[in-house]
Assembly symmetry: C2
Homo-oligomer: 253 residues x 2
DNA sequence: CGACATCTTGACTGCGTTCAAACATGGTGG
DNA sequence: CCACCATGTTTGAACGCAGTCAAGATGTCG
């Protein structure tokens, strides 16, 4: 009964998965379901330790995962965040060169890696879906690169806020009642944010306060901002790939 | 005749390609060959402009490509280098968010993108090969992330030199006559190196000289260093994933 | 040999890190 | 209900790395 429940949710999770959404046959879905398992991790739990053998791959159902690289001097570097529908782990690779940890409490849909790989080799439709998922991952990595390209902390923070609005419009942002301005919900705390943007908690704090002082944003709570000057933020980001009109449209649509 | 020559070289190039090396059937290779074309670009030529429609994908046969992102403030950012056997372009994506330029004179093996994608969809063996190629690309992106994770210019430069030795042992590095020390040949000039490491020509120069002063390296020519203190470089890189013994073994093997 | 690109060196300035401490916020037990 | 502590956030002061500007050195090619 409980087992059936898990299985059924597992199917839904896979079906909704961004990478595996592309026309899988019912037969493939059934086989996939047979090796899937839902798992819940508490906040800060280590899902995959850095350098460890990769036993599972899967996708995020609920919550946020962070990919975290430990440097030998003790500092750590967040190299990416995974939100619901993203895949974690890496097919056809023995070990992970970063650890995967729960940034919030997370629910994961896991597949035993070798069984999954076997399935990939035998189901062309699944292989195609995985290819698309990996291409998404590649885009995410390039997005991270964009993020870190900013010379100043202000540029990187501005880029980060804009990326939240563009990439996950309805999960992380909403419109004010008059539909004129955007409210952003930052999914991670200052500490993780600092690691993600390659800086310190203090610098993040100062920059956020500076944005507020300059009338770019209004701080509703530490993790919730209202964007007052969207064009200003875009200029600040040093990245002309952002467009105020299409960001707003993405939220209205 | 000249055409045959090109075709034959094209086949070799594909056969040697890291991503497409995996057991392609002769039939697939033939079809691939039919849409391939060798092209040569002079140094600093723009192969794919930023934001332009992607007409070709392919792989590098000879020389070095740089992937270059232009920021709205005029600065530019090198987000990756492609050496022989790497794929460039991106399947199933309409446009490129960075420009691809020739860092040296390059020879490319090009495929018209739509024809290539059609082929991918009809040949499962090719699709599998492409999947592996994209996974390699993903690794390269993560490697770039490692590179840029270093807090100081010294750490990033040390990481870069070590990465050259590990990733392309025989293309970029060799052993001294006594087989005790490594000689590194940096494939790109100071200017590109500075952009790649997210810094300036001046800082690169100062750091290289500092390494030399501290006895870490000996500067043979501006683009050719002898590594005198390999363990020291590894400590400097702040990255404990490098191992002196295995780096040397990689070159001896 | 001169012209040009590349590389090196020097002096100054500023952003951001570091260290340190105060300030919120939320949950717990007396 | 409030004192207390844990956690997270903000603010302040001082130092250091690296970017900028400017000039000099080295190398390369017609």
């Amino acid at each position: 009964m409980a087992r059936n429940e898990v299985t059924r949710i597992g199917l839904d999770a896979k079906f909704n998965h961004a990478g595996l959404r592309q026309g899988l046959t019912p037969a493939t879905l059934r086989k996939l379901d047979a090796i899937s398992r839902l798992r819940v991790f508490p906040r800060d739990a280590v899902v995959v330790p850095q350098g460890a053998a990769l036993e599972y791959v899967g996708n995020v159902v609920r919550g946020v995962l962070r990919m975290d690289r430990l440097l030998s001097d003790g500092r750590s570097q967040i190299v990416g965040l995974l939100v619901p529908s993203d895949m974690f782990g890496r097919v056809f690779s023995e070990r992970s060169d970063y650890s995967i940890e729960a940034a919030t409490e997370v629910t994961l849909c896991c597949f035993e890696r070798h069984a999954f790989e076997t399935l990939v080799r035998t189901c062309p439709d699944l292989e195609h879906a995985v290819l698309l998922a990996v291409l998404d991952e590649l885009d995410a990595a390039r997005e991270w690169i964009t993020l870190r390209a900013g010379a100043t902390v202000a540029a990187r923070l501005a880029t980060y806020l804009l990326m939240l609005c563009r990439r996950w419009p309805h999960q992380t942002s909403e419109l004010t009642h008059d539909a004129q301005r955007i409210i952003v919900n930052v999914p991670i705390a200052r500490n993780d944010l600092a690691h993600y943007l390659g800086t310190t908690v203090e610098s993040i704090s100062r920059t956020v306060q500076a944005f507020s002082r300059d009338g770019m944003i209004s701080i509703l709570t530490p993790l919730r901002f209202e964007i007052l000057d969207l064009p200003g933020l875009i200029v600040m980001s040093d990245n002309d790939e952002f467009d105020a009109a299409s960001l707003l449209a993405g939220l209205r649509g």
